[in-house]
């Protein structure tokens, strides 16, 4: 009996009834968008889609189209005439083949090096370290992301310099540093991209319950068996996620190669040296890392690891 008489009273108290008094432009717009879901979606996505479409995909399409054009050998002017010559050249000339294979090899080496370092570090951080030590290491790992790219590459150039810090450090052991070359390039790239591997591996390690390691040991496994049969399978998605970054970033790099690579030619340096002389050839060569990365992503997807990204 009492309830129906009280309710209208409460409503007519302080707050105005919804939809009756407010009529500013913002309110009108909100009301309009509320009633029209499609308009709402358009307003939401126009800008990001334009950004993606024009700047990302558009530029890639341009690159791809350019790859089928040719240049005037004397003036280096681009002639927009369809030809497959550029692709035939990079697929048949041995120097290009070797450069592509070398680059893929370097990217794989960088990826493996990062993974091998990330595994014990991730274990220590996730399972052994105190919270304080964990924070210190987390900062340490992500430190390379904070400094400018050129600064980091340049510091490695100084490190590997002939008679530089590394040579000086190794001298008492009767050794010298590797000098500028493929080894220095792999080390530098691994340093640059390590955070992209270490962070996912560490966070995946944190998600593995401790007692799985206890259980493995309890059932008779020694440490290495546990790593092989429990840790690595459970960390596989993290390794793949990390490797997508380390692999594709290494594949595309050319500044590090120029600074510490010595005479080592990679896809990036070949593109860089052709970009003014023969842009269509550079464009054709530029599609190689894209194709390789797409293939890599396809394989990663098959393994089911991309679901975790």
């Amino acid at each position: 009996m009492a309830a129906p008489t009280i309710e209208p009273e409460a409503e007519s108290g302080t707050a105005p009834a919804p939809g009756s008094t407010r009529g500013g432009l913002g309110d009108k717009l909100s009301r309009l968008l509320y009633a029209r879901p499609k308009l709402r979606l358009t307003a939401l996505l126009t800008l990001p889609l334009a950004w993606l479409g024009v700047l990302y995909i558009g530029s890639l399409i341009l690159l791809f189209i350019t790859a089928f054009w040719t240049t005037d050998t004397f003036t280096s002017k681009v002639i927009p005439a369809f030809t497959l010559e550029n692709f035939i050249e990079i697929l048949t000339v041995q120097a290009y083949q070797l450069t592509a294979l070398r680059t893929i090899g370097i990217a794989l080496a960088v990826t493996v090096l990062c993974a091998v370092l990330a595994l014990p570090l991730g274990f220590y951080m996730a399972k052994v370290a105190s919270p304080r030590m964990r924070a210190v290491l987390a900062i340490g790992i992500t430190l390379p992301l904070w400094a400018g790219y050129l600064v980091k590459v340049f510091s490695w150039r100084i490190t590997f310099m002939s008679g530089g810090p590394l040579d000086w450090l190794l001298a008492p052991l009767g050794m010298t540093g590797p000098g500028y070359g493929t080894t220095a390039l792999v080390i530098t790239l691994a340093y640059l991209w390590f955070p992209y591997m270490a962070v996912p591996v560490y966070s995946a390690f944190r998600q593995i319950p401790d007692n799985l390691f206890d259980a493995s040991s309890d059932l008779g496994a020694k440490a290495w068996s546990t790593v092989r049969t429990v840790a690595i399978p459970l960390l596989k998605p993290a390794f793949i996620a990390g490797s997508i970054f380390t692999f594709s970033l290494s594949l595309g790099d050319y500044i590090a190669a120029q600074f510490v690579g010595g005479k080592t030619q990679v896809i990036g340096t070949v593109i860089a040296s052709n970009i003014n002389l023969n842009p269509p050839l550079a464009a054709a060569f530029g599609t190689v890392p894209i194709v390789v990365v797409v293939l890599y992503l396809f394989l990663a997807r098959k393994s089911g690891a991309l679901k975790q990204l």
């Binding site: 319950p209 206890d214 493995s216 049969t229 429990v230 399978p233």
Partner: protein
């Protein structure tokens, strides 16, 4: 047959005492920084026993289990398994297997692969492995889930798979760390029966950690009651319930009335602490004829009545101000006492147990 051992070091009856204990702990201490989890523990667990480590959380029982398994090394002391010193040995060097509290099944392996894991490490031949896995899954009555992943199983099924994974290796000792804790009441009771049956069939020593006193009493041949890192008492469930060795044991296992001082003196002639179980006390009306032969009698006022289905619980207050809890079966002999009634509480004097 279990004898009535009342201290941690007393062995059970003659036959068991001459055999080598399955597990023997001597002066085992475990500290974590400033915190002493286990202090100077001596414990013998016999072959084929269902032995429970019972105590509240933080009492050290799980630490003891983890030291037997080898996950933790004792700070000092010695642990023998079947007469062999394993104090400093790694878990994979000990012939014990563990069923973990949250099962610890490998999420990336199927049920069959989980059960097969330990056999593979022992390099058991493939055909033999298959046979043993099939038998183990048969034993836990789950042959149909062999190819499923642990995430596709119910809690009770995971529990049983964890049991199969540990038992398939035929260890000397099976350690169970609150294995039923995550299950709901009904499933837990069903699993208790199954556990007991499996233990009887395989004849392996079971060491069972639990904080649930009812579970420990129901399942165990013997129980060690832990409190603050020490064992308060070791004994059969009956020992612990009927003849508790300390105030802690008396109150941790079931409900009890702890009586001391004047009332104790009135009942036994001594002021020492008494334990009287609530279900041993009867409520009699004051006008009923007094029969005092071998009986203890106290007059009291009913202050509170709690109906619990099969029984009714009374809180009564004696003239001296002592509260006594009485649990009365709701059968034809129920007193039907009301709140505020003056009643006579009566029980056989042999239930006055001096702690």
């Amino acid at each position: 047959m279990q004898a009535t051992a009342t201290s941690a070091t007393t062995a059970p009856d003659g036959t068991a005492a001459t055999a080598t204990p399955a597990i023997s702990l001597r002066q085992v201490v475990k500290t974590f920084g400033d915190f002493t989890a286990v202090q100077g523990l001596d414990l013998d667990i016999q072959q084929g026993e269902f032995f429970s480590l019972l105590g509240p959380s933080g009492s050290g029982k799980t630490t003891v289990l983890r030291m037997i398994a080898g996950f933790e090394l004792p700070s000092s002391g010695r642990i023998d398994l079947a007469g062999r010193d394993v104090t400093r040995k790694a878990p994979f060097e000990r012939d014990v297997n563990t069923v973990f509290q949250d099962y610890a099944l490998f999420p990336h392996l199927s049920v069959a692969q989980n059960v097969e894991y330990g056999l593979k490490l022992r390099k058991t031949p493939r055909t033999e492995r298959r046979k043993l896995v099939a038998e183990a899954l048969e034993m836990i009555r789950l042959p149909q889930v062999a190819d499923r992943l642990p995430s596709q199983l119910s809690g009770g099924q995971r529990q049983r798979v964890a049991l199969a994974r540990a038992l398939v290796l035929r260890p000397q000792v099976l350690l169970l760390d609150e294995p039923l804790g995550a299950l709901d009441k009904q499933l837990r009771e069903q699993m208790q029966v199954e556990l007991k049956q499996i233990q009887r069939t395989v004849g392996i020593t079971f060491v069972f950690v639990t904080h649930d006193q009812e579970e420990a009493l129901t399942l165990s041949d013997r129980v060690a009651v832990f409190n603050d890192g020490v064992v308060e008492q070791v004994g059969t469930p009956e020992d612990l319930y009927e003849r508790p060795g300390s105030r802690f044991v008396a109150s941790f296992l079931g409900n009890t009335n702890l009586v001391e001082g004047a009332l104790a003196k009135q009942l036994t002639g001594s002021e020492a602490l008494l334990s009287i179980r609530p279900e041993r006390i009867h409520v009699r009306r004051l006008d009923e004829p007094v029969d005092s032969d071998g009986l203890s009698t106290v007059e009291a006022v009913i202050e509170e009545i709690i109906y619990t289905g099969p029984s009714t619980r009374y809180v009564a207050r004696t003239a001296g101000g002592q509260h006594l809890i009485v649990q009365e079966q709701n059968d034809s002999r129920a007193s039907g006492a009301q709140r505020g009634d003056r009643v006579r509480l009566q029980w056989s004097s042999r239930f006055n147990y001096t702690v």
